[in-house]
Amino acid sequence: MAIRDPLVNDDRANAVVGWTLLAALLAVAGRSALAGQLLWSALALVVASTVAAPAVVTRSPTTIVPWPLVFVATVAVTVRSFGYALEVAGYVAVATFALVVVVELDVFSEVDMSRRFAVGFAVLVTLATEALWTVAQFYSDRWFDTALLQSQTELQWDFVAVTTVALVMGLFFAWYFQRIGYGGSQELPGEAASA
């Protein structure tokens, strides 16, 4: 028997937890904005709108990803905005964001992926985001006199950290989605019985 998460498999309970977390995320976004951390406030807002998008499009509040994804994203963004574990929290936030996007593509759009492929693709999206983020920081330093990129070695350690976080998060959610039977294509006959 597959073990089911009682909250996730009850759409209503999942939605209640998900929207509550989303409200917390918005509060954090507001707090960051007031503190002048516009970049992080923007990231929190982008994550929040991505989580909310399927519900808005389908006009059904229960169309929302499993709450643990929203939970990890909210915790990461909150920890980051309160100034703790700046780098790791940032990477976890980006990795979760990638997972949310890929899972939503899989579950709510015409893009169909197997569960393993979806998680692997989320890891690629995280790395790709890091590449774009590096480019953005570089030009921010050059054009706006910020000092985001300090040294080459530091940047290279960033790559190591982001890859590690992406892989760990990917493995965790691959395990979790398998456990709750979420995402991927419809279960193959026999899979539910043997899982």
Partner: protein, 213 residues
Amino acid sequence: MTDGIVPGLSERQERLVTRTMQLALGGLSAYGLVTLQLGMAANGGVALAVTLFPALLSREYDYAMAPALVLWVTVAVFLHSIGSLGPYRWFSWYDEIAHTVSASVIAGLGYASFRALERHSEDIEVPPAFRGVFIVVFVLAAGVVWELLEFGSGRLASALGADAPLVVMGIDDIVTDFLFNAVGAVLVALAGTDAVGGLVGFFRRRLHASDGD
């Protein structure tokens, strides 16, 4: 005479150009060995090995890669090998061209693997626009993985007291690489996916074979 994919070249001419570059890489490697410049020898040798990979595929799996594809791969590694002899330092645009070309090879490989997986697996079905997005994501991610390789090999080399085999020339070098990788990826996403049609079929047959059917 069979027309090749490269405009103006027949398949025979495409092969000839490939052979010429392979010969040059072999020569570079031999020259490095004779003059005891081991970095140069390894550089030429590894590049030559990469260009011979399609021949290995054809031997092992009876898959004849289109000569234009072999040429494409060969041009990419040739540009990098020759670049490290000097052009990288002489011309600022050289690195950018080399990265655009090799990113297009990675993009082609990524696209072919994905397409093969998509056709092979009943679980994966995507609209065409997604394939373009996949190519760009794949190449950008490959750029970060490549940086990890450079970083890792550099640290390993310094732990062993040797020279770093892959030299990273600063943050702006990394950023330029990422940017021009993206250019190569977008070019392939927009225009180049037809060229790897044969490779898709090959990967797909391998997937079938590995399933045992």
